[in-house]
Amino acid sequence: MDQKENGLEKFFSKKKISTNTNILIRYSTLMALIAVAIIFSITIPSFLTIRNLENLLVQMAVLGIVAVGLTFVTIPGEMDVSLGSVVTLAGVFAVSLMGKGFGLIPSLAAAMIVGIISGLINGLISIYGHISSLIVTLTIGAILDGVSLLYTGGYRLYKGILPSYLFIGTGKLFGIPMPVVIMFVVVFIGFILAHKTVYGRRLFSVGGNFNAARLVGINPKLTTLLAFVFCSLCSAMAGIIATARVGTAEPFVRFGYVMDAFAIVFIGTTTSAEGEPSIPGTLLGIIILGVLSNGMNLIGVPFSAQNILKGVIILFTVLISSIIRNQKK
């Protein structure tokens, strides 16, 4: 048997060559990261300091958690552009409950429930209503924004925030800032869930071929629905951290999150042979976007120019993963 496999391995060696060229494309993302990091380290003295790296990770924590959630929605080929609105609304709810005298646990629970409900609404309407999730989440996002504004009357909330709540955003565990700890925990849970569990295999099957998944007895709609819920839960958690970091909840829309989270996931897809989203890819995306933003901030690139650069990066990465996918066809 082994000998036979070896023989066939040789027989298929032609295909191996084409995979090798793909490996070049696949690792180009990682190599680009290393190159950018080296350039920043040489040109910016303050870049490669522990303090700055810690700063970088803290800056990326909220976005990173959102991106892990978004990865799950993109595996079955769906979208969620309401995630910025969920971040806002969850933060508003948690802070406002503390302002009304509720304790830490009920406030956190309220934020999480906001997440679960938004995810259910997004998923149920787009899956069972057969509507593009882009349109559904865009509309639901607008509704959630409206709820945030209406609920707060447009004011910032900061009353009654508990120190234990602030600890989530500003505290340290074993010397590591809490947001960073939570982000890595979420990345780890996301990795296990997507790549090591029955649920994850099912989710990838649905993304790979909806009908084939259905015909082996998988419930593709339920599987996708759970991905929407997980995504919104991550956004809600991000909302908690975001408000806990600054000590206020603002009912303002965070469009930037949507753009950046998609940038991260798209960068991640370029690391997969099939142009598929994955949690390791998303982690790489978080670090790349973090390094770029941080470096550009240190150099003093204006915010508007940063957006242009991010847009170019997204287009570029989408192009790469599209090339990978078409090569495979």
Binding site: M1, E5, L8, E9, F11, F12, K15, I192, K196, T197, V198, Y199, G200, R201, R202, F204, S205, G208, N209, N211, A212, A213, R214, L215, V216, G217, I218, N219, E274, E276, K328
Partner: protein, 505 residues
């Protein structure tokens, strides 16, 4: 109708020595074909005989390897559908190319709105021209209704009228009656006859001989990419057509192992679905291979999908292993030990970018993961065992199924149900699109399945293979079983006779 004599008229379309080769297959070999002005010329042959390749060459979708195409005696080259249309050749495909949400009038002119002016639509002129053509064809369809609200038959009429307005001289119709009711067929036929009287040449492809006898002036019979003959309808009989279609050369004759059938694994009683199936009753015993044949649209796929819980049942009973079941979805059918090998291997059977192990264990991997965590090593071990058993030829168990050949891909599809230990296999065209050697392997695989006690429903469009492999053969037509053959009495000729609409009893 048949009495018109064409011996005096010249050939409008003339094909000589058309040859077309696909990798590994000679689809057409030195085909000669001609059609006269105003003639309805039927093209007939089994699946894979080369009918669709021939019409695709005429309509510019494929390019011929060699041979000549002449129109009015003038040699032309057709290298795209557009060039075909410019030469007056129009094709009405099975899938109609209309835009569903546009109105009849808009569809009629879509893509050539600028025939009258360069900038603004001239709706008045469009409308009056459309009305003229509809009147000429005696079609009565409102112009301002979205096409999606029309019946299939009326949509077809719109397509035909559109072709005529493009001054089509040759109209190719591919199985136009497959989705029509009897009344609609009559209307279609009178339109076709009218067109022929007006001088349009019609190349008519159908599986139904009765239609051809009603309609055609001449028949050309194709087999294995070669023309077996062209005969005037006056001289044709069902039996000589069938004889020409069948021939006597099957290679790779499969040796059937006789197994004594056991208990009934499946029994269907008066099964109806909402659209297609009408009172289907039959049973499958363990150790038995039941072949199902019938023309496209006869309800074969709908039948197995109904049993598999993927096509809602309207009335009737499904009994699996002696118990009445109500398969609401594939998951519940799978629980009852049923497996579906779908017709569309790539679209429904496999996840192409996943590896062999992942595909093979897809229905089962959750079973040995009680806590919800994957056990990849066990997946690989089980997949390897089964791959060895059914001889999947692959570089390794982690090779993506996309890189396997069609035959090996099909073995992967069957393997996943072997791991699941299914007892009833519903195989929908399991040998479609795979080469001869792999076909033989699939037959052996099916043979092994039944010798281990499974029951198999084997759907195929290739009648010889069904005759070879099956213990019993069901012939389906318009959603119902019209005839059952036992292995001892089945022959390709008899089955073809039933499929083509000959006598049933």
């Amino acid at each position: 109708m048949i009495s018109r004599d064409f011996s005096m008229t010249d050939n409008l379309l003339e094909l000589t020595n058309i040859t077309k080769t696909f990798p590994g297959v000679k689809a057409l070999n030195a085909v000669n074909f001609s059609a006269r002005r105003g003639e309805i010329h039927a093209l007939i042959g089994e699946n894979g005989a080369g009918k669709s390749t021939l019409i695709k060459i005429i309509s510019g979708i494929y390019n011929k390897d060699s041979g000549d195409i002449r129109i009015n005696g003038e040699k032309i080259e057709i290298s795209s559908p557009k060039e075909a249309r410019q030469n007056g050749i129009s094709t009405i495909h099975q899938e109609l190319n209309l835009v569903p949400f546009l109105t009849v009038l808009e569809n009629f002119w879509v893509g050539r709105e600028d025939d009258f002016t360069k900038m603004f639509l001239n709706k008045q002129k469009m409308r009056s021209q459309t009305e003229t053509i509809f009147k000429r064809l005696e079609i009565n369809i409102p112009l301002d209704v979205p096409v999606k609200k029309l019946s299939v038959a009326n949509q077809q009429m719109v397509s035909i009228a559109r072709a005529i307005s493009e001054e089509a001289k040759i109209l190719i119709m591919d199985e136009p009656t497959a989705r029509l009711t009897a009344d609609e067929i009559n209307i279609l036929f009178s339109t076709i006859k009218k067109l022929a009287e007006q001088g349009v040449t019609i190349i008519y492809i159908s599986h139904r001989l009765e239609e051809i006898f009603q309609l055609a002036h001449r028949i050309t019979i194709l087999k294995d990419g070669e023309v077996q003959g062209t005969i005037p309808i006056k001289e044709a009989t069902v039996s000589n057509i069938v004889n020409m279609m069948v021939g006597q050369n099957y290679e790779n004759r499969f040796k059937k192992v006789q197994i004594d059938p056991g208990d009934k694994v499946l029994e269907c009683i008066d099964l109806c679905d909402k659209t297609k199936l009408k009172n289907v009753s039959f049973s499958v015993r363990s150790g038995e291979i039941v072949g199902v044949v019938g023309p496209v649209g006869s309800g074969r796929t709908e039948l197995v999908k109904a049993i598999f819980g993927d096509n809602p049942i309207h009335s009737g009973k499904i009994i699996v292993d002696g118990k009445v079941v109500h398969p609401k979805n594939p998951a519940s059918a799978i629980k009852n030990g049923i497996a579906l090998i779908p017709e569309d291997r790539r679209g429904e059977g496999l996840i192409m970018h996943m590896d062999v192990a992942e595909n093979v264990t897809l229905p089962t991997f959750a079973q040995w993961s009680p806590l919800g965590f994957l056990r990849r090593r066990l997946d690989h071990k089980i997949a390897k065992e089964i791959a060895k058993k059914v001889d999947i030829r692959m570089a390794s168990i982690t090779q993506r199924v996309r890189y396997l050949s069609g035959g090996n891909q099909q073995k992967v599809v069957v393997s996943k149900w072997l791991v699941k230990k299914s007892r009833l296999f519903l195989m929908d065209e399991p040998t479609a699109g795979i080469d001869v050697g792999a076909k033989a392997e699939i037959y052996n695989l099916v043979s092994n399945l039944v010798s281990e006690g499974a029951g198999v429903i084997f759907i195929s469009s290739e009648i010889p293979e069904v005759v070879n492999i099956s213990d019993r053969i069901l012939v389906m037509r318009s959603g119902t079983i019209v005839k059952q053959f036992d292995r001892s009495e089945a022959s390709e000729e008899k089955i073809l006779n039933v499929i083509l609409g000959g006598e049933i009893s």
